[in-house]
Amino acid sequence: MIVRGADRVLVQGITGRQGTYWAERMQAYGTGIVAGLNPKKAGTEHCGVPVFATARDAMREVGFDISVFFIPPLSVRAAAQDAIEAGCRRLVILTEHVPVQDVMELLAMARANGAAVVGPNTAGLVTPSECFVGFMPAFERDIFRPGGVGVISRSGSLGTLFCLNLVQAGFGQSAFIGIGGDPIVGTTTLDALQLLDADDRTDAIMMIGEIGGTMEEDAAEDARAMSKPVVAYIAGRASPPGKKMGHAGAIVMGDKGTYASKRKALEAAGVEVLDTPSEVGRALQATLG
């Protein structure tokens, strides 16, 4: 999913410490936050917007397009059900450590209702100079600037480094899509790739993957057929097998999810795979001329 300045955003968990801190930053940047949720504080105002008990109430009273979650892991499934049943079609779930079976349930609910989910365990989405949803440093002018590169990342910190390198090399971003570091996520690398391929503002795509799972391999086939150039980086080449490298999804088991398998699939599809993030400017200059 891509966020735009006109999108109306609901913040589930707006009154918490992180919810408040990031709601204020999103608002300052221009994100259209229209309401927040906290059943215990329904009827009050927070960050200048009304607080409701349920997403259903918020939908009826003010209406919204996207819901972003600052919700503890064991409450995420129910919160997602609330949003989906209220008619929300775009959910951004930042929470880490949501039980995998809860993730599968909420993704099944979303699928049955035609809703898209980004995350869990994502740092969020950014459209430079318009809006952001999540906890990305969109407001840092040397990291995010409007431009033509669509960025897909499983990691917030590494995605930030790439955005910074892009800006230093004279590029800007059309959209940043943080897809999340969990083994099962709502929006896959392939989904994000297809979105950016269809996006008018995007000229080239920077795909930042990591070891574990097969999302990068699955996306490689489509990358071959795309008209826009794709450059990739895969984190975890030097990581020992059998260990979870911080992200629940970043683990090599046997010959599954290895760096070698991902690099091979991407290179076979004509995608350049960078050895270090500092090569991104050179690689894009070469492909875009």
Binding site: H97, S157, L161, G186, G236, M245, A248
Partner: protein, 379 residues
């Protein structure tokens, strides 16, 4: 989190799947007593949270009590895939007529549970999938509706395996998977006995690590990961630290950036000494993190790579400097500091440590590798 066989099997029993009578033994004497109570012949099985126990010689069938003692003595203390065997499971031997494979797992491709069954049990599922893929049934499950008897029958029909209560067993296995926040629940082999009953001869259970927060009691029966002393200390502090073989200590924020720091060190010819993640909610823990990284005796220099997003680099740098001033380490340190709060972070680094960060991450890494080489050459 992995579970040993003896800790996994009771989950099957609770769901109505039969398991052999058995007893856990931690010594040869206990094993002999178990065999006497159960009656020979028995199977003596090494308990370790890994497969390949049979191939490693960790499973023996014996038919008299003295042989049980010898088998237990041989198996206890074995190393299997890096795990020391501390206990054996002594089980009654079953009269097996056929062996099946059955499992339920969380499948990233279908984003839901996947039930797998094969009439060709007893070998690894990878082997079945490679050598006779048409004998391996796979049924993606709509988690909102569950795995029904009809779906089980349909799957079994396709494989020509409809004997007795197989469908009921698969449904029970799915229920056990759901009731226990499993990432994987596998029975291999699932045995058909001469009298037609189905019995789970082995069981592999992996508990979803994110499910532990609501399965504390269950997690208490699982096998903790094998950790080094430093890794155990990190775990107690809520930090994710992995000890590696190299000599460059790494301190970075976020899982992706930390992995990348290790990768770029390796790319330029160096070797990282650790993974440690202090991003996310841990970004205020720079001080204990630095202590951990420096307490690894292999560390010859330190590389600090911060790229602030959610984690503010000024907060991380401040915590790091507090620790640095308290510990007064003698190893050289190289910084790359960018992103949220980096202007303040650079200032405080200049003021308190008298150093400036490198302009690029690669620059800091190349310098750190050279310093580690120099330290290695002079020691």
């Amino acid at each position: 989190m992995n579970f040993e066989e003896h800790a996994a099997k009771p989950l099957l029993q609770a769901a109505g799947i039969a398991i052999p009578r058995g007893r856990l033994a931690r010594s040869a004497g206990e094993a002999a007593a178990a065999a006497t109570a159960l009656g020979v012949p028995v199977v003596v099985k090494a308990q370790a949270p890994t497969g390949k126990r049979g191939k490693a010689g960790g499973i023996r069938t014996v038919d008299d009590t003295r042989a049980v003692r010898e088998a237990a003595r041989a198996i206890l203390g074995m190393e299997i895939a890096g795990h020391r065997v501390e206990a054996v499971l002594v089980e009654e031997q079953m009269q097996v007529a056929a062996e099946y494979y059955a499992a339920v797992l969380s499948d990233a491709a279908s984003k839901g549970p996947l039930v797998m069954f094969s009439p060709e049990g007893g070998m690894d599922v990878e082997e079945i999938a490679a050598s006779m893929p048409d004998r391996l049934g796979q049924a993606p499950v709509d988690i909102l509706h569950g795995f029904t008897l009809d779906a089980a029958h349909e799957m079994l029909e396709g494989l020509g395996a409809e004997e007795g209560p197989l469908a009921e067993t698969l449904v029970a296995l799915y229920r056990a998977y759901r009731d226990n926040d499993a990432e994987l629940l596998e029975v291999n082999p699932l045995a058909r006995l001469a009298d037609g009953r189905l019995v789970a001869l082995d069981c592999k259970f992996v508990l979803d690590d994110s499910g532990i927060q609501r399965r504390q009691e269950l997690a208490g029966r699982g096998s903790p990961e094998t950790l080094t002393a430093l890794e155990a200390r990190a775990r107690a502090l809520g930090l994710r630290y992995i000890e590696l073989d190299g000599d460059i200590g790494v301190l970075a924020n976020g899982a992706g950036l930390t992995m990348t720091t290790m990768d770029v060190i390796a790319h330029h010819g160096g070797q990282p000494a650790n993974f440690i993640e202090i991003g996310g909610a841990a970004y205020t823990k720079a001080k204990p993190a630095l202590e951990l990284v420096l307490d690894n005796p292999r560390v010859k220099c330190l590389l600090v790579n911060f790229c602030g997003a959610f984690a503010r680099t000024d907060v991380m740098t401040g915590g790091l400097l507090d620790a640095w001033e308290a510990l007064k380490p003698t190893v050289p340190v190289f910084f790359s500091v960018r992103g949220t709060g980096s202007t303040e972070a650079r200032e405080v680094l200049r003021e308190r440590l008298g150093v400036s960060p490198y302009e690029t991450m690669d620059g800091a890494i190349v310098a750190a590798i050279a310093a580690a080489r120099d330290a290695g050459a002079s020691s």
